[in-house]
Symmetry: C2
Subunit: 146 residues, 2 copies
Amino acid sequence: MPSKTVNPEDWLAALDKSGFRMTTAQETLVNIFAHSEYPLSAEQAWDAARQSRPKTGRATVYRMVEKLESLGLIRRIHGYLGCSHFVPTLPELMMLFICLDCGRADYLDSRPLDDLIQQSEHATGHQITDSRLQLFGACVDCQQNA
Amino acid sequence: MPSKTVNPEDWLAALDKSGFRMTTAQETLVNIFAHSEYPLSAEQAWDAARQSRPKTGRATVYRMVEKLESLGLIRRIHGYLGCSHFVPTLPELMMLFICLDCGRADYLDSRPLDDLIQQSEHATGHQITDSRLQLFGACVDCQQNA
DNA sequence: AGGTAAATGAAACTGGGTATCAATAAAGAA
DNA sequence: TTCTTTATTGATACCCAGTTTCATTTACCT
């Protein structure tokens, strides 16, 4: 499974630019989400945060998740594991593939989806302003290891 | 917004065929979901059920939702309103459009999605076994009434 | 350094959803 | 029809992810 990475510094810069104060709780959580190899729930992020910063509060984590999501830095996954997990956002790669075996997320080129949306707009007359596409199955690695 | 309908009798037949007993609670809830014009949450269905059958229990509703979903008769919507609403399933029309104004769901021909999936399988090597696509925006009616 | 408001943490709270279990009622047998 | 069996139901207690509250802390600006 090809993995794309994200730079926590960029997230901190974006938060700074948006006027948020730079705190240790924020830095901890940004690093956790930006480096996560798997989709992460708020509770999982909370557990991870307390390992390096024990007195991190639960509310802080939920507030940070909300902040990161509203800035478009992370996005929610609507999957077989529930709808409470998040992955870093990769611009121009909005199509998500989730491996039902290893659980990892892969990002796919979303131009085909843009075409599909334009096609659907013409066919129905609806004005489509947002979309959500997720694909599920077995990733390349898990197919080989099976 | 074009609306497609579903026959409750078919659902009851499917439940019967699967070995479930025919009960009044079941009949009540099947009618509610099959006739709903809008996506319905379990709590909303519970409210609706108690209007015609006051002593309907909450657990019964959740059990019925699970049953209907596992038989593929209803499907969960992952939307801006949360992930707890359900709509009747229409075979061959798996693409959902949700109007952010009136809240109604429209079903779209999903052949374009099938093509996209095949394309993505070839491009990535992943084996795609399931998909979830939802489109959001303003439906034809709401564009006119705006 | 000092003032100020944002950010935090602890804890109480909310509400959707689940587990339990005794009572009910559907389906088949006699 | 009545009887027997067992799935289904409803009431209640329960769970837990997520939110609210508020006093305390801390980043930022001067």
